[in-house]
């Protein structure tokens, strides 16, 4: 089973670059949705046996990350009439470059972590770290509120991948709890986006700096 995990993680890594390079909202959200679906599949594969809760878990992940949350984001774009371009503070090429550097560092760094031998060869740790960094990159270099949500989502995906390592240790309920957390957070952010657009007639977080004391 394990031989499928690494190729899927490579796909996840590539999607990170798609996200960093995307200039259109639609592409961005689609990439994140695809990443979510891949993660769901990853859960099923990582566990090997298709027990009921594993299947349930994978299904819930795919539904939430691949369908429901992207749906909400698309709705948000439509309702709030957001312009379809991503507005970066750092250019796309530069973002891609930073992402590449981040992934390289993640690969380097994962060698130094005190992890069980059996996990050493796998791509799980570098993929997780690189996805987290990508999420942070999105959060720091994009201005729109909705790209912040996407950044947060990617960040969480990274954490989720890391959770694979602890598949045996972390009980099923905790994972579900994390998913619920995520869902609620996105929900709240959706509401905030609405508020921002109503108050400032724009959904750029630039206006938020007015709120500083």
């Amino acid at each position: 089973m394990n031989k499928f995990i690494d190729p899927i993680l490579v796909l996840v890594l590539l999607l990170n670059f798609v996200v960093l390079g995307a200039s259109r909202m639609r592409t961005l959200i689609q990439a994140v949705a695809l990443q979510g679906i891949l993660l769901g599949i990853l859960i099923a594969l990582a566990h090997g046996s298709l027990m009921v809760w594993v299947a349930l878990m994978a299904l819930v992940t795919i539904l939430l990350k691949g369908v429901v949350i992207p749906r909400m984001l698309f709705d948000a774009i439509r309702d709030v009439v957001i312009r379809r371009e991503v507005e970066p503070l750092v250019g796309f090429i530069a973002s891609l470059f930073l992402g590449a550097v981040g992934t390289g560092l993640a690969l380097l760094f994962s060698q130094t972590l005190p992890i069980a031998r059996s996990d050493m060869g796998s791509l799980i740790v570098p993929a997780a770290l690189s996805t987290v960094l990508t999420g942070f990159l999105m959060l720091t270099t994009r201005t729109k509120a909705i790209t912040q949500v996407v950044g947060y989502l990617i960040l969480e995906n990274g954490v989720f991948i890391f959770g694979m390592l602890l598949m045996e240790a972390i009980p099923f309920l905790v994972e579900l709890g994390v998913l619920l957390d995520l869902f609620v957070a996105i929900f709240v952010m959706g509401i905030i986006i609405h508020k921002i657009s109503r108050e400032f007639s724009s959904v750029s977080t630039r206006m938020l700096s007015e709120l500083k004391e």
């Binding site: 503070l89 942070f136 990159l137 950044g151 977080t205 938020l208 700096s209 007015e210 709120l211 500083k212």
Partner: protein
């Protein structure tokens, strides 16, 4: 059955129930105060057993918090502090039930009872916790619950300010405690109290200083006392009684517990505690002398008494390191006895002040007066408490201060060189403190209870209900009992003293019989009480016979004396405060003199700023604020920048790990 756990669960559940019934003041009070009383009474039994070394309660449960475990155990030291925690909380909740009902039209009482019960339960948990994480959690719950209790009347600005000062002080103190526990746990890699090894001399010194700062903040040791005179007056009276009677003592508990971990004390600890104790006593009582606010004066008197306790503790440790068992025995027994005595006296005084506020509607001394006739029960209890707290003979304050005097005198005789001089001079300082305390409480009692009312509210004052005077009567009775049987108490403290300082029973008892003549003292007390009883009997009989005529007090020949002709609180202590004190201790007076030829209105204001706060803390915090203002540029107001800070920290952590890995394999 583990009765401590039952008591804790009762308190927590009662608090939550009071919150659930927040809508009805009546039910919130019944559930909150009722469960507090029940929980405390249940907890008292194991507390006494613990003190006397009867049963050892122990309970362990795994806990999901990292590094934490729910581990409680009861020993003599825990029992010693658990008795005031439960005993006084029961009385305070009976009092508070009635006291808070006066606010029922303006406020929901459920939240206050919720925090009250959590406050009591967390104080008990602090005392029995045997695991650093659990201890810190209980400590923080205690501090936070007290904060919410203090800010009960949060619509007033001075109450909010007091709350903030208290909160900041407690958190600064807690930071030192965290560092201390990490140091203690570093050697064994566990935060279990049982596993702390005795640290080396340098580590021990650092831990001792951290504990002194961290716990001293809570205990109100000078110069860390500044929160105390702010927070105590702001809180509702039953809460200030608990804060002053019990909570600040838990600072001492922490210090004593750490002394157990540290093993044999170093030679400089005793003298250091003695100096801190003396400065606390002198400073506290000096400021208490000039306060207009009833409860503020009491708060400063608490600082004085905490100073006395620390002084006695320091004398005990000094005697221990100097191999003078009699000095050690006197110091330790004086310290432990004064902890209990002060709990009783100060709760009595604060509850009495609460009853006065309830009946006469204010705590400004200059607007009260003549309350002895209007509130005889409260007044009687207050007089008794004031006699006790000024350390006058037939009451308990005298007994513990006597022990401290004896420790100083024996120290002066037995020590050689500088120590002897310090101790003998200390006798004089202690006498000065005693005289000032007497002046302070004569003023307190005289201005509030005697004379003529100084305001309309005081003229129409009414006696509080029986639910409020009953706790006063119980506390007063306990004060008398302690004064009559101090020997029994001191003997029962032997287990605690042995546990903390490894000081065995025989020299203690030997010292008591040889040096302090506690039995003689209690005999003297008994004789005085008997005489007082006789006088009372005669006066009652004289009244029965009808030989009493009522007339106005002699008024120095004035035909129509006004209430404004009386001594005011300020004029009573004017001589001491404005003439004899050091300049920096004196009140700040501003007089706007009139320049006009014809009479116009002039103006004069007096304020009593705390010298330590004015000279040390205000400049320090202004300086710090000025420097932190330079960090303003970090606050860009852009979410992307804040995220960048996260990234920077994360990358730094990564880099650190890589570097460490490198160094490891080089």
């Amino acid at each position: 059955m583990n009765m401590i756990l039952i008591a804790l669960v009762t308190l927590f559940c009662g608090g939550v129930l009071a919150l659930v019934f927040n809508r009805s003041s009546r039910w919130a009070t019944i559930l909150g105060a009722g469960s507090a009383v029940v929980g405390c009474l249940v907890g008292l039994w194991p507390a006494f057993q613990g003190l006397l070394g009867g049963g050892v309660y122990s309970f362990r449960m795994p806990w999901a918090v990292p590094g934490g475990e729910f581990y409680i155990r009861l020993d003599a030291l825990s029992g010693f502090f658990l008795i005031p925690v439960f005993g006084l909380s029961a009385l305070a909740s009976v009092f508070g039930g009635n006291y808070l009902l006066a606010y029922r039209d303006r406020k929901r009482l459920g939240a206050s009872w919720f925090f009250f019960n959590f406050f009591v339960a967390s104080m008990a948990l602090v005392v029995v916790a045997r695991q650093a994480v659990l201890f810190m959690v209980a400590w923080e719950i205690m501090s936070l619950a007290a904060f919410f209790l203090v800010t009960f009347e949060h619509e007033k600005k001075d109450v909010r300010v007091a709350g903030w000062i208290y909160l900041i002080a407690s958190h600064l103190g807690a930071a030192f405690l965290l560092a201390m526990f990490l140091l203690l746990g570093r050697a064994s890699g566990s935060l279990d109290f049982d596993t702390f090894p005795v640290p080396g001399s340098i580590a021990g010194a650092v831990i001792f200083l951290l504990a002194l700062i961290g716990f001293g903040t809570k205990a109100g040791l000078v110069p860390l006392h500044v929160w105390l005179p702010e927070a105590h007056p702001a809180a509702p009276s039953h809460v200030s009684a608990l804060m002053s009677g019990v909570m600040i003592k838990l600072g001492l508990y922490g210090l004593l517990r750490v002394l157990i971990f540290l093993g044999p004390p170093a030679a400089w600890w005793g003298p250091m505690l003695v100096v801190i104790g003396f400065s606390g006593a002198v400073l506290g009582i000096s400021f208490a002398l000039c306060q207009r606010d009833l409860k503020r004066a009491l708060a400063y008197s608490s600082i004085e008494n905490m100073g006395l306790i620390v002084l006695a503790l320091g004398l005990g440790i000094w005697g221990l390191t100097g191999h003078h068992p009699i000095v050690a025995a006197l110091g330790f027994s004086g310290a432990f006895l004064h902890i209990w005595n002060h709990s009783l006296m100060k709760s009595l005084m604060f509850l009495g002040a609460g009853s006065v506020m309830h009946g006469a509607g204010g705590r400004d001394m200059e607007r009260l007066g003549g309350l002895m006739k209007r509130m005889p029960h409260t007044g009687g209890a207050i007089v008794l408490g004031a006699v006790a707290i000024s350390a006058l003979p037939p009451l308990n304050g005298f007994v513990s201060e006597w022990l401290i005097y004896m420790a100083l005198l024996y120290g002066g005789l037995e020590f050689s060189g500088g120590g002897s001089v310090v101790m003998l001079l200390g006798v004089g300082v202690l006498a000065l403190v005693g005289a000032m305390a007497l002046l302070c409480f004569v003023r307190w009692v005289g201005i509030v209870l005697l004379g003529e009312p100084r305001s309309e509210e005081a003229r129409h004052a009414h006696e509080s209900s029986r639910w409020m005077t009953l706790p006063l009567a119980v506390l007063a009775g306990l004060c008398v009992l302690t004064a009559l049987f101090p020997g029994v108490l001191v003997t029962s403290f032997a287990g605690v003293i042995n546990e903390v300082f490894g000081f065995s029973l025989e020299p203690l008892q030997q010292a008591m019989t040889d040096s302090s003549a506690l039995t003689v003292l209690s005999g003297v007390n008994a004789v005085i009480w008997a005489l007082l009883g006789l006088v009372a009997l005669f006066s009652i009989r004289a009244r029965r016979r009808g030989g009493v005529a009522e007339d106005s007090t002699w008024s120095c020949g004035y035909l129509a004396p006004l209430s404004s002709m009386q001594y005011t609180g300020q004029s009573f202590s004017e001589m001491m405060v404005s003439r004899l004190f050091l300049r920096s201790f004196r009140p700040k007076m501003r007089v706007v003199a009139t320049q006009a030829v014809f009479p116009v209105a002039g103006k004069m204001t007096t304020s009593y700023p705390d010298t330590v706060s004015r000279v040390v803390y205000q400049p320090m915090f202004t300086w710090l604020a000025g420097h932190f203002a330079r960090m303003r540029w970090l606050q860009q107001g852009k979410i992307q920048f804040y995220m960048l800070y996260f990234v920077v920290v994360l990358l730094f952590a990564f880099a650190w790990q890589v570097v460490r890995h490198w160094l490891h394999y080089e």
